[in-house]
């Protein structure tokens, strides 16, 4: 399978931009984005050009998220998918009928290069869950010289547990922050979640958390198809996800740790998910210990610094603020936030059961340890298969 250089297929729609201008003229593609600075929402919008984001899964959520980031002028965009565009995808946004038969990554690269030639695009056509795919995915995120992550954020826009577990493992190994997103199989609810290794729950700390559909499970029709999808729910989840990405990258507002969307009731539960000290993933437990040490050091440093710095930081003021108006942030509700992790808010539920096995059952029913060699067992199995 040859990967064509997408940008060479069509001439760029405009020359590359050297420096973002805030001039309010019809020909400036960044005028409305730079206005965020004038409005006092963002301090330094141009910072987005130095940011790299990896979007894993270019389906109904990922492709739309990639377009949003491209239109926002993200510096570099890495895109991952192994699938091809087909007519059955046309109920979602972004891809067009003429893309059918192309890989999703190449089709996206062609379209996105036209929309904004300033964005460096890197399409990766691969399945990340296989042994080879895992290594290739990790290598693509890693800086060859330093061995550290070369991206600011990884976005999981995939539709299966195996791919999420893969992203979780790679991000734990790289100490990389990532954001998870998902839409339910019945297409009427979705969620986004931030995973900061050591600070928040990793994807193996607790079973995946999803929004309850509010429908009686027994009335759900599952015959015929594996999953339904709607452009609305997917577009909304992509919007919620990228809004959180922008807040995280550009440092404005509050980055939501978990936000659910139940469209049937228009209900948006939020919560913080604390890491599980007994997480089955040893790397997660290591990250938690490292995070604890770092947090304690920072707290000690803060306590030692001048008392005036302990006062709440002033909210950003508008650049032109002739009335001297300022907004004071609410006190963060610390204890309440940690309590929230203990019990799930109404409308949220785990999508899978917690792993559990009775120790006595395991003792009784486990394979007997023996001295048979691996090769002998393999030969025995082969002989049975003749």
């Amino acid at each position: 399978m040859s990967v064509q250089q997408p940008s060479s297929q069509q001439a760029p729609s405009r020359p590359r931009t050297e420096k973002l201008s805030d001039a309010v003229v019809d020909t400036n593609p960044y005028s409305r984005l730079m206005a965020l600075q004038r409005m006092g929402i963002v301090k330094n919008y141009e910072h987005i050009r130095s940011c790299t984001v990896a979007v894993v899964g270019m389906g109904g959520v990922g492709s739309v998220a990639a377009e949003m980031l491209t239109r926002c002028g993200i510096g570099r965009l890495l895109m991952y998918d192994y699938d091809k565009v087909e007519l059955a995808n046309m109920n979602r946004l972004f891809f067009r009928p003429e893309h059918c038969g192309m890989t999703k990554t190449d089709a996206a690269a062609v379209t996105l290069a036209q929309i904004n030639p300033d964005v460096a695009l890197e399409p990766f056509t691969m399945n990340i869950t296989t042994l080879k795919g895992f290594d290739a995915f990790k290598a693509s995120l890693t800086h060859t010289d330093t061995g550290k992550s070369r991206v600011d954020l990884v976005l999981a826009c995939v539709d299966n547990y195996e791919a999420r577990i893969t992203i979780n493992q790679v991000c734990l190994e790289l100490g990389q922050i990532w954001m998870e997103s998902g839409v339910s199989e019945d297409a009427v609810s979705g969620h986004i979640q931030v995973i900061i290794p050591g600070d928040t729950a990793c994807f193996e700390c607790v079973p995946p958390l999803v929004v309850a559909s509010g429908i009686d499970e027994r009335t759900l029709k599952r015959e015929g198809v594996c999953a339904a999808s709607l452009p609305t729910t997917m577009g909304i989840v992509a919007g919620l996800l990228v809004q959180n990405v922008l807040k995280h990258l550009l440092g404005f507002g509050q980055v939501t740790r978990y936000l659910g969307y139940a469209s049937l009731q228009d209900y948006f539960p939020t919560m913080a998910i604390r890491p599980n000290p007994e997480c089955i993933n040893p790397l997660c437990r290591q990250s938690q210990a490292a995070f604890k040490v770092k947090a304690e050091q920072e707290a000690a440093l803060q306590a030692a610094s001048a008392p005036e710095e302990a006062a709440p930081a002033k909210a950003d003021l508008h650049e032109a603020n002739e009335w001297g108006i300022e907004v004071v942030a609410d006190e963060p509700s610390g204890p309440a936030a940690s309590r929230a992790a203990a019990a799930l808010p109404q409308g949220l539920e785990y999508s899978m059961p917690v792993a559990s096995m009775d120790a006595s059952n395991l003792n009784r029913d486990a394979v007997e340890s023996n001295d048979d060699k691996l090769e002998d067992l393999m030969a025995q199995l082969n002989a049975m298969s003749k």
Binding site: T129, T130, F134, I165, A355, S356, V367, M384
Partner: protein, 166 residues
């Protein structure tokens, strides 16, 4: 186990030995131990099937135990329907379950993902998660592939999508 399972499957799966080592193919040393347990469980399962005259699959693996293939068959109205299946052990196994594929049935039923991967989301994935890391390949065949064949093969025969192999 949920009430939806037939009593025969329930009885059979109880007899397949449980695995104890949590290791995947990226854990060089431990994977060898896990693989030994996988083979032991599979051998026991096939022996059980042969003893009750309900043999329904064969299976072999590559040398490092990361790629598997075999044949599975299903008897319907005294006719035998046989298919080749295959799967790789995912990098994050056993947190991630194996994705069993029957490429020759690709496109013949909606309960399948591209490339012929059988749809296991509803009936199998929650069970795998609950019993991780103690379920292995033998359990995936017994609780994943076997019920899928039982549900989908008669449907595909009715649709005229498949023909008997004997």
């Amino acid at each position: 186990m949920s009430a939806g399972w037939d009593s025969e499957t329930k009885e059979t799966v109880k007899k397949i030995p449980l695995l104890t080592i949590r290791a995947g193919p990226r854990d060089k040393e431990e994977w060898g131990k896990r693989l030994k347990e996988e083979l032991q469980a599979l051998i026991k399962y096939i022996q059980l099937n042969k003893a009750t005259d309900s043999d329904w699959f064969t299976i072999t693996s590559g040398k490092d135990g990361t790629t598997w293939e075999g044949k599975c068959w299903y008897i319907h109205n005294l006719h035998k329907y046989e298919f080749s299946f295959e799967f790789d052990i995912p990098a994050t196994y056993p947190a991630a379950s194996p994705e069993i594929k029957i490429p020759e049935l690709d496109g013949k039923t909606a309960k399948m993902y591209r490339g012929g991967a059988i749809c296991l989301t509803v009936h199998f994935k929650p069970l795998w998660a609950k019993n991780c890391p103690h379920f292995g390949i033998a359990h995936a065949l017994c609780l994943g592939l076997a019920p899928w064949l039982a549900a989908e093969i008669p449907f595909m025969i009715d649709e005229g999508a498949i023909k008997t192999s004997s």
